[in-house]
């Protein structure tokens, strides 16, 4: 039986209603046992004094490639895109991730505690994602099937003189794979020994076990994703959703959750030409469920907060901005019973900062995962900035 850990706060952003100006968080066996505004601290408890500081739930990024593209490792450390076949549902992010990579160390020091790590977007169907705590503990595998539309697949394969070379091809490849899966399900129904290793992971989409996660920037690609997923009756989340603000009404109506970002990145591709920081505000207005993402290593994990800061300065409410890095993210991943807010029974994943996370100067002082201190800031040497 572990000792009780008590955080004496500090402004506590529980993400379950209004923040507490001062309070106590009791942690036991890696879970949050209780949150109170007054208490007598038992003698045998460990106490972390966070008075004058700010306490948040561990932050969540629902779209990264941490460990799949290792820091400082070039092609030898790049394992995110199996770009020799546009349909690879059978490959798994978990088999390519180096959990000891510096990318995870940066994430922990930046206050991120849960990540959804997926294959890249070179393939129309890229493979299986995994949700893990930044210390390497697996939370859910697989987390979903990564898919992609738009410029990336068609650019990668047209240069190899293979389909897809156009958006026509992108969509066809996606539909064919899903149709092949339906055919496979039928065959399995008649012959229980029949097995196709490649298509088997797509069966889970039809069974509602996990969603498709579809990378799309331009509004036409977003609508193509919607059209195809409706055709096959599959639940999905939208990744990047760069032009989502142009069709926010549709996204709200169809209840499509969106991973929004990375916003601190250039409009290097034509499909990014309407990338704007105002998208978040439009989502808030129209009631689209969204979370900010970094798409690490496109931008570092710490840039998550600067994306949110910029959005707040352009009109997004702080409340929604915070949700978009915590409860919304948890909800989109289907993990709201475990992470995303500070509540009894949830994982004890917390971050202590010296200033609010909308203050550009803020520093992460401590990161706690499953009730254990995994990072404590002492000198600038332990920063990954």
């Amino acid at each position: 039986m572990e000792k009780l850990l008590i955080l004496k706060g500090g402004k506590i952003f529980t993400m379950e209603g209004k923040p507490l100006d001062e309070g106590y968080i009791i942690i036991e066996n890696g879970k949050i046992d209780d949150i109170r505004d007054k208490m007598e601290i038992p003698a045998e408890a460990d106490v972390i004094n966070a008075q004058g500081k700010f306490i948040y739930p561990g932050f969540i990024d629902i779209h990264v490639h941490t460990g799949l593209w290792e820091e400082g490792a070039n092609v030898e450390g790049s394992d995110g895109n199996e770009m020799v076949d546009p349909v690879t549902p059978h490959v798994r992010a978990i088999d390519g991730i180096n959990f000891h990579d510096d990318g995870f160390k940066e994430a922990i020091s930046s206050g991120l505690t849960t990540l959804n790590i997926m294959p890249g977007s070179a393939n129309v169907i890229g493979g299986q994602g995994v949700i893990a705590k930044t210390i390497g503990e697996i939370v859910l595998n697989p987390s979903g099937i990564k898919m992609a539309l738009g410029e990336n697949p068609k650019r990668v394969y047209s240069s190899q003189k293979k389909m897809p070379a156009t958006r026509l091809g992108n969509a066809f490849i996606m539909r064919k794979a899903l149709q092949d899966t339906l055919n496979y399900i039928q065959k399995k129904g008649k012959d229980r020994h029949y097995f196709d290793f490649k298509l088997e992971p797509l069966v889970g989409l039809f069974e509602g076990k996990y969603p498709a996660k579809i990378h799309a920037h331009r509004e036409d690609d977003i609508l193509t994703a919607l059209r195809i997923m409706k055709e096959f009756g599959i639940k999905f989340t939208l990744e990047h959703s760069t032009e989502g603000h142009l069709i926010a009404d549709i996204l709200a109506k169809e209840c499509i959750p969106c991973a929004l970002g990375p916003t601190i990145s250039s409009r290097i591709k034509q499909e990014l030409r309407n990338r704007t920081i105002e998208t978040a505000k439009v989502y808030e207005e129209k009631g689209v469920l969204f979370a900010f993402v970094t798409d690490f290593p496109v931008i570092p994990h710490y840039a998550l907060f600067y994306s949110a800061q910029m959005a707040v300065r352009r009109g997004l409410s702080e409340e929604t901005a915070l949700k978009a890095m915590t409860v919304n993210s948890a909800k989109i991943l289907g993990l709201e019973d475990r992470v995303g807010s500070l509540k009894k029974g949830k994982d004890a994943d917390l971050v202590i900062t010296d200033r609010e996370v909308f203050d550009p100067r803020f520093k992460v002082l401590m990161t706690i995962i499953n009730g254990k201190i995994v990072y404590e800031h002492k000198t600038k040497e332990d920063l990954f900035i």
């Binding site: 490792a73 070039n74 092609v75 030898e76 450390g77």
Partner: protein
């Protein structure tokens, strides 16, 4: 003043037992055969140890591709043009290569770094000492040898791209064309400096040797033929077939750098690779240095390559010279390194036992009188 007292010293030439080495301001000021030591000195007792000058590897590419770096970080071969005499290996040298610390820990303190053997004329090599200092202070001799390559490597590099040279004939043609141009350039004394030909002129004037990479007997004979035509001084590198023509080589070469010897003969031209070669060549009075050709063999096992040569017939003194005084002479830096004698730099390695015994370890390394290991 630092005094290293006792143990068995190999000076680069001979042995001293129970002597003393005096060090001041980074230089060796005295080497005594007896133990009388003045007061005020800091004494390091080396009783029971074996002391060598800092080891020297006369042919390496260390720092030109970081150990364990991704593959695109190799700067050893400018394999895009066959004649690049104006390139300097030092311009590809990274003093932060992790292999360097390991080399120092194995007692290697000075190296010759050189372009690779993809090009018939590869460029200029330099002598570097592993000091913790800005790059320019690490250089002992910037223009120390012009890399020339014969045989399979250059012709397969360019032949593989379907460009000239793809035969040994063409490899020689390129060398002869450039050396001839250099001769004419030297005669004319133009105003404009031709940085390509200038480096070849240095060999024609015997300011520094040609370092000629060759394995098979026909390539060794080509080297002799080229030397006859242009009159440069030369050191042969590798020279796997040297035993076959060793009598012809005496008085024609400054010496031969033998190695890398560990491993299999990976190419037809190096089929006669053998640890027996050093003894055979040496018996004809030709000076030899033993090299790792790092990273083809690891530089940090240099003493083991010398030990294997000793095992296969090379005498003890010559074997110890192959990694100390002989390469110092080949590189033209014998007044600085390669010897434990008055006036030389205080680069000293202390072994726990005989350096040619595989079980011995390097215990202490001094570079410029400063203890680094």
């Amino acid at each position: 003043m630092l005094v290293l007292r006792g143990g068995r010293i190999f000076t680069g030439e001979s042995f001293i037992d129970d002597g003393a080495i005096f060090i001041e301001n980074g230089k060796i000021t005295k080497v005594l055969k007896r133990k009388r030591i003045p007061s005020g000195a800091e004494i390091v007792d080396l009783k029971g140890k074996f002391i060598l000058p800092g080891l020297i590897d006369a042919h390496t590419h260390i720092g030109m591709k970081d150990e364990a770096a991704p593959r695109e970080y190799s700067n050893v071969n400018e394999a895009t043009e066959p004649a690049t005499p104006h390139l300097y290996a030092i311009d590809s040298f990274n003093p932060e290569d992790p292999a360097i610390k390991k080399a120092i820990a194995a007692g290697v303190t000075t190296v010759f770094i050189t372009p690779g053997s993809a090009n018939p004329i590869g460029g200029m090599g330099s002598v570097i000492k592993f000091r913790s200092a800005p790059l320019k202070e690490m250089i002992l001799r910037k223009d120390a040898g012009l890399k020339i390559a014969l045989g399979e490597n250059p012709k397969l590099t360019y032949g593989g791209k379907n460009t000239f040279p793809m035969t040994r004939m063409a490899v020689s043609a390129i060398i002869r064309e450039n050396f001839t141009k250099a001769l004419k350039y030297a005669e004319k004394k133009k105003k404009e400096t031709d940085i390509r030909l200038q480096n070849i002129v240095k060999t024609l004037r015997k300011e520094l040797p040609c370092r000629i990479h060759c394995h098979s007997v026909q390539d060794i004979e080509t080297a002799l033929r080229l030397q006859e035509e242009f009159g440069f001084e030369m050191i042969l590198e590798h020279a796997s077939d040297a035993p076959m023509v060793v009598e012809k080589l005496k008085d024609r070469v400054i010496g031969i750098v033998v190695g890398p010897l560990f491993g299999i003969s990976s190419k037809p031209e190096s089929k006669n690779l053998s640890f027996k070669n050093p003894a055979i060549i040496s018996s004809f009075g030709i000076p030899i240095a033993i090299t790792s050709d790092h990273p083809f063999n690891a530089i940090y096992y240099l003493t083991i390559y010398a030990a294997m040569s000793y095992k296969e017939g090379l005498d003890e003194t010559t074997a110890l010279k192959t990694v100390t005084s002989t390469p110092a002479k080949f590189l033209g830096v014998e007044d600085r390194v390669g010897y434990i004698r008055r006036g030389n730099d205080a680069d000293i390695v202390v072994f726990s036992g005989h350096p040619l015994d595989i079980m011995s370890r390097v215990e202490t390394v001094f570079i410029d009188g400063v203890r680094v290991i």
